[in-house]
Amino acid sequence: MKERHWWLLFIIAAACIIVTLAIHMFLMHMGTVLGWLGITVSDPLAWESTLARSKQIGMAIILFVLLTAGLFHGLYGLRGILIEWIKNPVAQKAITWLVAIFGVVAYAWGLVVLFGVYTMGG
């Protein structure tokens, strides 16, 4: 893939994040405002309610999209800043690989968490 393809993915990821993160943030932080609209939300950080949320298939899909797009968008942005700062081509290549490896590890961990909580008993 050429750089412009990664860039396009970066922008598409941004569009995905705007939708999914808006939902995530509204549920986590705008409980009072949602209450005014007649939607009751229980304490979003309580153990039972985090579990109930993560076990809904719709929410799991939203979080999956958010994890995928968020990690890619964030790490590609970080790489962009780093290689703009450090000019040495060898170092730039190393940065790209380090960021990519970090991304794969973080993504694997994120999937373990998502799937683990989704299939958790109780």
Binding site: A15, T32, G74, I81, G110
Partner: protein, 148 residues
């Protein structure tokens, strides 16, 4: 202008160029804050993945962390991050609409300085979005420090 009198800037200013590279317009500040808030968010995301992963260990570690997160200092940093998120989201929304879909750019025309579209359409749009952002920041203050 004579060549000797012109102070030329290097082609790339590196990190220092973020802070100052001449007279900045509103959009240039918007770009600078977009980068700084972006860095804050990508530092936060892996920590968020670790913390939400605590749930795999059962309710004990999770509830201990939630209690820790109610500490005023932690709460303040979380709120600062919320402001970074709101800015990055709303400014990013503007960038998507303008740069990907060409909203408010208009049809090609003869060059005109200053460009009509940037001052008469893009900047007002930017300001409207920033007002919206300020509104959300007020809501976030209520969410973090009042409604609890």
């Amino acid at each position: 202008m004579e060549k000797g009198n012109v102070k030329t800037l290097p082609r790339s200013l590196g990190i220092r160029g973020w802070i100052w590279a001449g007279r900045y317009g509103l959009e240039r500040w918007a770009y600078l804050f977009h980068r700084i808030t972006g860095l804050a968010l990508i530092i936060y995301l892996p920590m968020h993945l670790v913390v939400t992963g605590l749930r795999l260990l059962g309710p004990g570690p999770w509830e201990a962390f939630v209690r820790f997160s109610h500490h005023p200092v932690v709460l303040f940093f979380e709120w600062a991050l919320m402001v970074a998120f709101l800015y990055h989201a709303i400014n990013g929304f503007r960038l998507l609409l303008t740069e990907l879909f060409g909203l408010s750019i208009g049809k090609p025309a003869h060059p005109h300085i200053p460009p009509h579209t940037s001052l008469k359409r893009q900047r007002p749009f930017n300001i409207v979005l920033m007002v919206l952002g300020a509104l959300f920041i007020v809501l976030s203050v209520l969410d973090f420090f009042v409604w609890r």
